[in-house]
Symmetry: C2
Subunit: 478 residues, 2 copies
Amino acid sequence: MYPNWILQRAHLTPTRTALNYEGRNWTFEELKKISVERAGQLTALGVKPKERVAILGPSQPRLIFMMFACMHLQCEMVMLNRKLSKHELEYQIEDAQVEKVLVDDEDLSLLPDHQKPILFSVVESIMGQPCEISKEWDMEQTISIMYTSGTTGYPKGVRQTVGNHQASALASVLNIGLTEEDVWLCAVPLFHISGFSILVRSLLYGNAVKLYKRFDIEGTIMDIADGHVTHMSAVAVMLQRILQGLEEKGLKASPRFKLILAGGGPVPEKYIERAHRLKLMVSQTYGMTETSSQTATLSNEDALRKLGSAGKPLFFNQIQISDALSPREMGEILIRGPHVTPGYIGRFSEKSSTIDGWLHTGDIGYLDEDGYLFVVDRRSDLIISGGENIYPAELENVLLSHEAVQEAGVCAIEDETWGQVPAAFIVLKSDATEAELIQFCSERLAKYKVPRYFYFVPNLPRNGSDKLMRRKLKELLQ
Amino acid sequence: MYPNWILQRAHLTPTRTALNYEGRNWTFEELKKISVERAGQLTALGVKPKERVAILGPSQPRLIFMMFACMHLQCEMVMLNRKLSKHELEYQIEDAQVEKVLVDDEDLSLLPDHQKPILFSVVESIMGQPCEISKEWDMEQTISIMYTSGTTGYPKGVRQTVGNHQASALASVLNIGLTEEDVWLCAVPLFHISGFSILVRSLLYGNAVKLYKRFDIEGTIMDIADGHVTHMSAVAVMLQRILQGLEEKGLKASPRFKLILAGGGPVPEKYIERAHRLKLMVSQTYGMTETSSQTATLSNEDALRKLGSAGKPLFFNQIQISDALSPREMGEILIRGPHVTPGYIGRFSEKSSTIDGWLHTGDIGYLDEDGYLFVVDRRSDLIISGGENIYPAELENVLLSHEAVQEAGVCAIEDETWGQVPAAFIVLKSDATEAELIQFCSERLAKYKVPRYFYFVPNLPRNGSDKLMRRKLKELLQ
């Protein structure tokens, strides 16, 4: 009942710029033509409508053409993460039981050796065959499957349907607004929901995407300062580098630049304050693979008033805190809305994604008296020390407010007396001793929260979207 | 699965201005509180959830409070048209078999005498009772029922569901865009879809509505020139008065003013050109009761390039021309999308609103080679003269381009020789003779299209939303 986004967008605004990459532009009509051609080429190679395929490639236009071709065929795309080990990719390909693996020639070496993938170059060069392009899409059809980083146990393949993505994009526009001049900078991976959702919004909104193959700090700073783009999505570590870059160059954001959507974990409050001094609007957002991007986002008008909050739910969404009877009571964050995944594939296909219609996120947070969400931590990262709960993000926030600290990550280390104690992993930007940091923390935290161990490291383990992977911190010690 | 718009909007942006009327403001939180109170009061008076009620009143805040109260109870609101005769209202109330009639005290005299309505003042003064406010709304639930003007035979009560209204508002935002500063001027009746859809958009978008009880040309001109509002909906005759007013006062639209959505029939092309000289953006739109407002709208970027067109479908919608094999072939306009009514009530409840999923509008139009819709005429107004089809709108367009003509309406008059011939009804703004107009038309139209009769009249028959009622033209002669 809803039209194919790619065909409809090309029909409505064929000549508008859809994509900019390394100085070259593609209109929506061009995106449509190329992706329809690719759909015919995939058909010639035996890919059938609604079949499940895996896709692997760096963020460049040919990957978008391939994804859109799969969408024309309404294939279920398993988005493979380029930062995974062969062992991890093997698991996903096997678990998803894909019919085909499509891989950018550049990334062939990332795949397990015994795989027989179809190279992008082969698709691009074969003579296409007539194929059935769905002119209308079913809301229930799975478009993309993304494996969650899986803090413990086996990663789960999460279904994201046409309806999930559409609801997410529509709820976002009601929060962020829209003008014809909007251009989204995309430097987050397309295989993650943060990047793929930028493509979905572009199709629904008709706005251009400026795509980067990888996060290019110099290019990004100039885009923001010159107003070549109006929006971007970033995780905290990217934001930190943008702030530092603008500060070092003495630049401010262009008045044309509107917003950085900051997700993938909590953004230290001091970043938001620094951003505002640079005239850079930053909205903390809370989202995940299971919700096809944002569930809550702090609106512009509240960015400074509600520092540290991930905002209120977007229009179609609802948030509850499990068992909380009053504001500010902490508990598991529960989510409801048309953006919530209908479920999983593979070995978790029997597992329901919701209980009584609510997604149980495993994340810990609270709602304040005005209904603003504060995400305290991922439950799996919770440190329990002598019966007291310690939330790593809180400690990291304190450490990051120290002038010598560039990055900080905190995890639990086993302890005979207390069960667990917190350990801090620090990337320094100027000199500081452990004693200084302990002193600094002691002034700001209850005694049991002060990290017992400090490790100074050159960098922190992060996943494909630069999110801090706390469970990998301990491996740094080995 | 979707939240109650009123509760959710008040939750998300409680302190934003929702409504402005005669210098007074109400926030979304205030709208919520009052409407929830009214829901309790309606409950005390015996109104039950999901019951069908009729509502009659002029456009003022108390009407909005009452409508929102009914929406909390998910009542089916039959929107009574204040311009109808008692006889016509009687038909609708009887056909809809409403449980209650709610009437603004001011409009009591408009109702058939034997009706026992509930006065707004009674609702407003009674002690409320606890009631069940739906926190979530079912997409299939009928919110509003509007009777179509019904060019022939009996008027039909058209269902407009939560899903219809929501899809319409969401498709519109993807076309028009959205900023936090947007303010819609509402001077079209709230009992028509043109007005009610402004309220729906306000709830979804979080923008303010500046409400007028009736079209106030002086106030509107100052709102547009000073930028107190950013958007408004208008029919051609309102647009003409705005243009004339701005021209006479030597004013231009404020840069803050964005758009007049011009619907309810074709807008003469010269109006669009005059508007652009006044820096006033005007988008011709094509919509109807059965589609809960717009189906197609000309986007800003095409306003001058595609003069006379109603644009392309909004993002979720599709348009076809019945039996047309190539561009510019005329035929019946067919519409498909989530905004199309599921059907009718009363004596037409058995009648399907669609055939094979497509709404058959009865309107005549064509799509040009780029897919732009041109609405040629309402089928029921078609004049057939000697086997030739004549579309009144085409003749009116020509007449309106004459400098002495203020308004023009064309209809068929029976003729022994030709079956029908066109007759023109003219409101003059300066002197002109019949001979001059015949000469003017002859230079611009095929001979068979030149009106055979000219009638100079003080005004033209228009319905509640100021749309020209061509079938009533002939009655002017009696």
